[in-house]
Each structure stands twice: as structure tokens, then as C-alpha cells.
């Protein structure tokens, strides 16, 4: 899906809830078709098309866990928290927070949902296996 009319120049939320579950909001180049997350309106990383040729697109917040790590030390934030490297079913590989109640293993199916981490709202991925 391409939303050509980006309603806001503000950074805005990074995800939305739809009837299909949580979706990450990304960018798509209307010139070459390159897509990525998170969303941005600066220009295309592949062909250099300017911001007025960058539209919004959505990625299913669903993918495969490549690796994960519990973080035990941080200068500002309460620890521990768990981060994961996830390859989305729609293509891009991202780093995101993981549900810290799950015993994770590489290769696990993960799904994202709204959550709170470090006093902010982020997409947090939990197990997609039932």
C-alpha cells in the first residue's frame, strides 16, 4: 500500500494498529520503488529521489528473530532490557525491543505490538508462535 499524501512532516508514530495487526510505517521511493523503515522524508537511499517523491508504506510487524541480547548496563536507562535483530517478512532487517518474558531462540517467529520501554512508546516484539 502506498499513501502518497503524507499528512505530516513531523516524525510522528512509527506504527499503527490495523485490522491485520500492528504495522510499521516506512518509506517508499515513488521513482525506483525502494522501501525502508523507519519512515523518513529526506530522500531515497538508493536513487537519491528528493523528499517530495518519497511516500509512506507499511510493513507487517512480523518476521524472524536473527539474534537477541539482554542489555545489562546503560548510563541512563533502567536495565535489563532485551533487544533483537529481526528480519521482517516484508524484507528489511531492524533492531527492536523484545518481550523480556520469553525464552528466545534464533529463528523464532516474532510479532510486534505497541509497548512501553525506557519511558517511551515503542513497538515491542513478542513470540508469534502459538
Amino acid at each position: 500500500m502506498v499513501l502518497k499524501d503524507n499528512p505530516s512532516e513531523e516524525a510522528g508514530p512509527q506504527w499503527l494498529d490495523s485490522e491485520r495487526g500492528t504495522q510499521l510505517i516506512g518509506w517508499i521511493c515513488l521513482r525506483c520503488g525502494q522501501r525502508g523503515v523507519p519512515r523518513q522524508r529526506f530522500g531515497c537511499e538508493r536513487c537519491g529521489a528528493p523528499g517530495n517523491e518519497i511516500g509512506e508504506t507499511r510493513f507487517e510487524a512480523r518476521g524472524v528473530l536473527r539474534s537477541f541480547a539482554e542489555v545489562h548496563r546503560h548510563a541512563k536507562w533502567p536495565v535489563p532490557f532485551v533487544m533483537g535483530e529481526i528480519t521482517l517478512d516484508d524484507g528489511p532487517t531492524i533492531h527492536a525491543f523484545l518481550d523480556d518474558e520469553v525464552a528466545w531462540h534464533p529463528g523464532a517467529t516474532v510479532v510486534g505490538q505497541a509497548g512501553e520501554r525506557l519511558l517511551h512508546s515503542y513497538v515491542v516484539f513478542t513470540s508469534g508462535e502459538h
Binding site: 516524525a11 536473527r66 539474534s67 542489555v71 545489562h72 533487544m83 533492531h95 534464533p106 529463528g107 515503542y122
Partner: protein, 378 residues
């Protein structure tokens, strides 16, 4: 495209360092002056001989150069500030080499000096991230480490051996921030900073300074520089991120930059005696020695365990102790690599000496990502 070595030859003639250390109250000016003065003495020249200075700092903020260099005597030399994240010092070196190669100067100095006091611009893009992993660099590398443990079949112990080697090298380096030999058990055991990363597998950020003086051959004659101690710049290459389609960008950049450097040098990686690698995290050395062609893909851990990358091995990798042990004060780091390679090629590295070292390669990656590679030859 014109390469730096297509222009006139450039030689490293002087090196100087202030030891890398945990942050102190010492002024950056004192750190920087110590390195510059040591480099001037090492080159056997006087300060007014130097026509251009490239001052590499990543965390000091605006206008660090002239307020420091004035205490060497205000000669009116050209001063430029250079910043390129972790590759700052490497980029300052390239600028100094280009200044001399092009004929704009006969004598130039690259200086790296830093203290971790300023801010980092890279996360302030205005783009809201999916997660703030930029603010947790060791989480990024813990994820990378865990991925290679899972997908390439490395063991924690194989990765730990990188840290053991580099800590043992750094223990012999009077300029290193961490000067203590470590056992495998010490570098792999809990507590972990993130994932299974023990803090001895992560570079300590600190402060320090490094300086390198480069010269044309005409100037070496004119100033009667000891030619038996000079080291020629045989290649200089630098690349930034490209659309790599999902490949690990740091690895892809390393491949591209080293390949370009080998072509410029006209040699083969098997002929490298000394290699200084960007090992901010232990896993990186295994990835980069393979990307550079020091061993076949997938053989890095086995070659390391065999001693191929020890001092006295096939290629001495990070004989300085690398970023893991010598440290990573940012601005100086790439120049500290050039200093180590120069010392090695001169045969002046003492207990860290790689026997009969003739060619060395320096490699840094920085946030961007960017990658800078230099090859020096006796």
C-alpha cells in the same frame, strides 16, 4: 580517477603519542602537545618546517586546533579540523598525505586528540527510530556477536581469543590504555554488558593523542631526514555506505576499501606483515580479517587459534593491542595505528616486533558507516 600514489611519493617521517588513558582532568592541549612534540623530535625537524596541520577530533567540539598549536610557536601554518567518527584520525592522515602528494605542501602533520566530552550528532536526524539502538552501541554489537554465534557456528571461546591476543599485545605497549594480560576465562565469563559480551571484548573509550608527520622526498633531502627510518605511503583508500542490499555494511565496506588499497599498492594480502584492525568489539576482528582476505572465508577463528595472527605469526594483527587494549579515544585512534605500523616497519617495536616487517595495513571503520584503509611500506 587519480589516486594519491599517482601523485608524488609521500613518506611518514615522524610519529608521536600521548598514552591512551581513562578520562582525567588533563587538558586536551597537554595531551596533544605531547604527541606533536614527540613527532617533531622523532622526525628530527623543527616546528616552523611544518606547513599544514590536520587536527582530528570527534568529541571536543569547535576550534580545537589553533588554541593547542599556538604553544608550539605561532608560525601561521594552515590548520584544518577533521571529523569522521571513529575514522577521524585515519581521515586526517589521508588529508595530510594528499596535501603533500599534490604538492600543496612539502611537510604536513596529522594530529588526533580527544577527550569524551562532546555530543554525537548521528542519532539526531529527526527520524524517530524503531528502537534507540544508536544510543546503545554495545547492544548493536552484542546482536552482531550473537548472530555469528548462531549462524556461522563460532563459539564464545573463539571470539574470546581475539580479546586474549589483543590484551596480551597491549600489555607490552607503553601507550596502551589497558596494559594487562588476560586469560580466555577472564574475557568470556559473566558479568556481561549485553548478550554474552564481557567488557574486555569492548574497547574502552578514553582520551589521548597521536601525531604523524609526512614529507615529500624533496623535503626529506632538504631537511636531511634519516631515510632509513622513513616509511612510504603505498595506498590510501576510503569509502562510505553504499546500497549493499542487506549485506553487513561494515564488512562490505572493508572488502571494498581493502580491495581498492591492494590495487593501488600492487600487492597481495598474503604479503602483509602487520595489520591494525578496527576491533572496537572482538567479533569485528574475525569478520574483518576474512573480509580483507588474510584467510579464506570462515577460517578466521581457526587461523587465530593456530597463532597465524599473533606477533611472529603469518600476519601480526593489531600488535599495538588494537582498540580492545590500546584503546579508542576516537580522534587519535587511526593515527595511533599509523604510528604502530611505522614503528614495526622501522624495526623499532621492541618486544612487540613482528620479525622482518616490510608492509603494514591500517583499517578503521566509523559511524556512517565509513571505512578508511592505508598501506605503508618500508
Amino acid at each position: 580517477m587519480v589516486l594519491i600514489t599517482d601523485l608524488r611519493p609521500v613518506h611518514v617521517v615522524g610519529i608521536g603519542l600521548h598514552p591512551y588513558q581513562y578520562p582525567t582532568e588533563t587538558s586536551y592541549i597537554e595531551l596533544g602537545l605531547q604527541a606533536v612534540r614527540e613527532a617533531i623530535v622523532d622526525a628530527g625537524i623543527t616546528w616552523p618546517t611544518v606547513e599544514a596541520a590536520f587536527v582530528g577530533t570527534a568529541r571536543l567540539g569547535m576550534a580545537a586546533g589553533v588554541p593547542m598549536l599556538r604553544y608550539l610557536g605561532m608560525t601561521g601554518l594552515r590548520v584544518s579540523q577533521v571529523e569522521n567518527a571513529s575514522a577521524t584520525g585515519s581521515t586526517a592522515f589521508r588529508q595530510a598525505v594528499a596535501e603533500v602528494a599534490s604538492g600543496l605542501a612539502d611537510v604536513a602533520i596529522a594530529i588526533g586528540v580527544d577527550k569524551p566530552i562532546g555530543r554525537i550528532a548521528a542519532p539526531d536526524t529527526g527520524i524517530t527510530p524503531i528502537s534507540p539502538v544508536q544510543d546503545v552501541p554495545f547492544a548493536r554489537y552484542a546482536l552482531l556477536t550473537e548472530r555469528y554465534l548462531a549462524e556461522a557456528g563460532y563459539t564464545k571461546e573463539q571470539i574470546g581469543l581475539v580479546a586474549v591476543k589483543n590484551h596480551n599485545n597491549g600489555a607490552l605497549n607503553p601507550y596502551a590504555q589497558r596494559r594487562k594480560k588476560r586469560t580466555l576465562e577472564e574475557v568470556v565469563r559473566p558479568p556481561y554488558v549485553a548478550g554474552s559480551l564481557n567488557s574486555l571484548q569492548i574497547t574502552p573509550i578514553g582520551e589521548g593523542a597521536a601525531a604523524v608527520i609526512v614529507m615529500s622526498e624533496e623535503a626529506m633531502e632538504r631537511y636531511k631526514v634519516d631515510q632509513s627510518r622513513s616509511v612510504r605511503v603505498a595506498a590510501s583508500s576510503t569509502v562510505s555506505d553504499q546500497a549493499f542490499d542487506g549485506a553487513n555494511a561494515d564488512v562490505a565496506l572493508t572488502q571494498a576499501a581493502t580491495q581498492a588499497a591492494y590495487e593501488e599498492w600492487g600487492g597481495d594480502p598474503s604479503d602483509l606483515d602487520v595489520v591494525e584492525v578496527h576491533d572496537a568489539f572482538a567479533i569485528e576482528e574475525l569478520l574483518f580479517v576474512e573480509a580483507m582476505g588474510l584467510c579464506p572465508p570462515g577460517q578466521g577463528a581457526a587461523e587465530l587459534a593456530k597463532g597465524s595472527f599473533d606477533i611472529g605469526g603469518r600476519h601480526a594483527v593489531s600488535p599495538s593491542g588494537g582498540l580492545l587494549s590500546m584503546g579508542h579515544p576516537l580522534g587519535p585512534t587511526g593515527l595511533g595505528q599509523i604510528a604502530e605500523i611505522t614503528r614495526q616497519l622501522r624495526g623499532e617495536a621492541g618486544v612487540r616486533q613482528q620479525p622482518d616487517a616490510k608492509v603494514g595495513l591500517a583499517h578503521m571503520v566509523g559511524i556512517g558507516p565509513v571505512c578508511v584503509v592505508h598501506i605503508l611500506q618500508r
